[in-house]
Symmetry: D2
Subunit: 328 residues, 4 copies
């Protein structure tokens, strides 16, 4: 049974394009038609840029045409502010390349997710760390505006708290404020344990229904919002089924590569494997999403890195060694 089929069985979406890409390429490392991938290596991080070029790429990858930049660094999980500053500067450069900005662009940064649920609080935390400037533009003298862009921020909450679809609040605000660009930050679900809180994805395609860990039902993208939407996400949870699945994969691998056990591998039925996984997860209705015990710290780290990167990328006049003075 293919891994992708198993994900379907478990009802798991891969939020990260880079994971879908890895899955599709498989071990053979074959090229995927309509999809381009570049990789850049930095001191403390690796950046992968996946471009879905055409409809064929869209169909195979199961997501929209556009650019998906992924920054990977296990050091994001470790408390080292100097390394995090370095990662922020790398990520800011990538954002500058990808964000459709003019000097006088107005940008709305939206922190999606539930501030009362730590693994889902990444978006609101980024908003908390960020400094709005839009109101200064309306009232402050010209010289204060030098090198700054007009940024406003919003943490609209989640349906379970507000009783309102998040996309409705955002759309309503967009209609009034009329920004030129919408940047959404959200917590995602990872397809492997290694990804949790160690990967930041930015996608030019916005957010589509069902992605993220908060079960959005409406898309937040150029089609629904009427302006370009950039989505920044960090996987903060993993389906417990994926942990068991990773174990199974290793087991099958062992069986397959051990001559004396190869007949066993041949005999195992994939459906049985799914049954087993589902049985293990039963106590949480098969929907057990887990997060590391250290979730509070790790989310603070990535939220700060993203807020720093956004400040550097959105405000060209912000010197990297002073950016933290401009964060909340």
């Amino acid at each position: 049974m293919k891994t992708s089929e198993l994900y379907n069985l478990l009802g798991i979406n891969l939020d990260l394009a880079v994971e879908a890409h890895e899955l599709l390429r498989g071990e053979a490392g074959r090229e995927i038609p309509g999809v381009k991938m570049d990789e850049e290596n930095y001191d403390h991080s690796t950046v992968k840029i996946i471009t879905i070029l055409d409809e064929q790429g869209e169909q195979i990858m199961g997501r929209a045409k556009g650019t998906y930049v992924t920054l990977e660094s296990p050091e994001l999980r470790v408390n080292n502010k100097m390394v995090h500053k370095n990662i922020s500067e790398v990520f800011a450069e990538k954002l500058k390349q990808i964000l459709p900005l003019n000097d006088d662009s107005v940008i709305l940064v939206v922190g999606l997710g539930n501030w009362n649920a730590t693994p889902d609080s990444l978006g609101p935390k980024v908003v908390n760390f960020s400094m709005a400037t839009r109101h200064l533009f309306q009232y402050a003298p010209q010289e204060l505006q030098q090198g700054l862009r007009s940024v406003c921020v919003l943490a609209p909450g989640v349906l379970g708290i507000t009783g309102i679809e998040t996309a409705e609040i955002i759309k309503g605000t967009v209609d009034r404020v009329k920004p030129d660009l919408l940047i959404c930050v959200d917590a995602l679900a990872a397809g492997s344990v290694e990804r949790i809180n160690s990967t930041i994805q930015v996608a030019t395609t916005g957010i589509n229904p069902g992605s993220g860990i908060g079960n959005k039902r409406l898309g937040i993208n150029e089609e629904t919002m009427g302006i370009p939407v950039i989505a920044i996400g960090v996987p903060t949870v993993v389906h417990a089924g994926i942990i068991t699945h990773q174990a199974m994969e290793q087991l099958f691998n062992h069986l397959q590569t051990t001559p004396a056990l190869q007949h066993v591998y041949a005999g195992l039925q994939p459906v049985a494997v799914n049954e087993i996984i589902n049985k293990v997860l039963e106590p949480f209705g098969g929907q057990l999403m887990v997060t590391p015990k250290e979730v509070d710290d790790q989310i603070s780290f990535t939220a700060k890195v993203i807020a720093t990167s956004l400040a550097l990328a959105l405000h060209p006049g912000m010197p990297p060694d002073q950016v933290e003075h401009y964060l909340q």
Copy 2:
């Protein structure tokens, strides 16, 4: 010099209609044309209902035609949950009389103010304590909806945090959600020390520019929102100038009623008094708003009372002895 002139000099607005009313009636207790006042006494609270009937009343009172209900209880400041429950039930009854509701009304409750500034966090705290039901209506079976109204909630933040005028976010959301009634909760400035965290006002006129402690610039009322707007407010701060002014009043009173000092009273120039007050307040730019040391607890108490009252008033099927089970 009249007290009201002094307030003007200090740039102080009286957020509470009941204070404006008291000021206007003065010690003589004279009737104010175009204004009606009723008073009801309960075990742990007093309720005053001021109705501004016509344009004459509007002009004299300096606020819009409508009903202003004020619940007063010093016990709001004391940690006694049973007394607070009693006050909530009284206030809920007043809300039921004043809120323009049908069985199938959709209500948007907005918590104004800054969650990072304790004295301004009343609105967001009420929203935190409240339970949204609107999303349940769209997806839950009929029997779950029995006795509940469709309520959604929002804490839009303040201009200094978001870079967006609060009224813009609310108007945008109102345009999308199309509620039948908007209820805004906000922290106010008191005109006397006794009022702080001991008074809840509800007004059928919404919120007008400049009121509250967050310096709103746009009104949030039926005119701007297109639907009825009810404003609930609690004074949580007082201008330090008012404390000194209260002292001065007592001093003048003493001079005036002490025969040997009456000539002194006659000789004091009001302008000198204002100069003195302003000089004392200089270190904070003359704009020192203060709040009691116990502000955290007191705001929690009033926020819980308001959230409880709203739950009782908005959901007719909610039994008073179980309402706390429906709060967050």
Copy 3:
């Protein structure tokens, strides 16, 4: 390979006596010498009372002589305050039976754990919800003390925050305050997914080194503290290895009970299984402890239940329907 050996290989301690007991009894349900187990069923919970009677029991169970009461209820995870109140009353009755109390006992309740790490914040949260009365005894009139016991509380933090072994701060405080009983509340590690945030254990043996999720190095028990120590714990995390292990168990079970696959089961080497599990967990150094995405809510629920139970058990004059008015 036996499950217990596997736990040893993974370096996993079973914090819950009831899990050790289940493991030892196995499927055969055999009696364990020196150990007694009783079970009581309630509307919303099951209570299991394990008594380790003698040294033989101690050795087999790997823990000290004493009583271990476990309350189990999956409903602890669900937001239903009325069910939680019922569970609190059941748990309070068990506490009354187990706590060595006189009318004039002084009790110190200590919330162990890290308030900055949600899964480890159970203890501090219980302390936050609880009301100290000891200072009232020293200064308040007799009639206020009716039906109350003298309770003081402490949340000493963790070594990583304070730089001080938690047991040192507690011992220092015990030496000064001289309470008659120490009650410690702590977050534990579960031996199965089902246990997380659904089980409360109370043990008369105190806390021993290495238990809980915060890696205490010194015991907090009668031997070190000089007074009886009761430990209350809730498993809030699970070793990711246990999730994979539960999956493997199911897999092996399937192989063993499917005639066509029995030869496979025979051929699998337990060491290989451990290697596989460890490989899967490598990205987190083999020490990945996970917690459900809903950890914030679930910990609030159990903390409130424990605080309520303690208030009912420690203060005989507290009426069950008013106990929430005495919580913070």
Copy 4:
């Protein structure tokens, strides 16, 4: 009537030595026997060093022999991280001069006050921002210890939360940990509006009963603790009576210096003034302590400055431009 008598009447303690000194010197600027005062001026702050030299000084100043260093800067109240960093470096130098330290000293930093009451939360916030190193010394390799001292921290809470006298918890911990120096951080009451959140005092005399805003009953000083105790404090509240008193002073000054009103001044009875002040404050039982509306931000600023100064002063190997990387 003398100002100091008025303070006595109002039951107000002056927590700041510099205020007592100013009061005693009066406008005449006379020298106070047994007391020395030096002043140093920096870019963003002024430092005053008051030394009480002998018993005569003790009696006049109403506080113990020792050194009282006061840093004053209205810029502490303004959000400017670069200015705050500069102030931290100045304050760190003063601490280095005053703290009795050896290379291998063990230091216990205690944050006094109530974390649930914003104006009283300064001490716990300093502890939150600070990094303990003592546990690293016991387990980490030598090279990690270079340039660091062994620091542990504690936030013991307040009597109303724990039911335990704060001094008891500290003494118990001191007895176990055996530090060489105790540093206590606490919120104070100011004697004038200008002082609030703009002044940091450090005293070599520890903390004496009745000082601070939390009503300690036991002293925390060398006598009670057996080791040197340094007290760091910031006034965060002011008695509302002081605001009215400052107004009265200005009024009297006006009367006194205006020829036409001098007879009035002569005629005013000080007792009447106190009666007036007390009457104004009646609604809060005469004990109304107030704090500026911006208390949350201002306390964060000073807590961060103090934590930064402590890190610089306690760890000689900490480079000033990296110190923020070592804060929490």
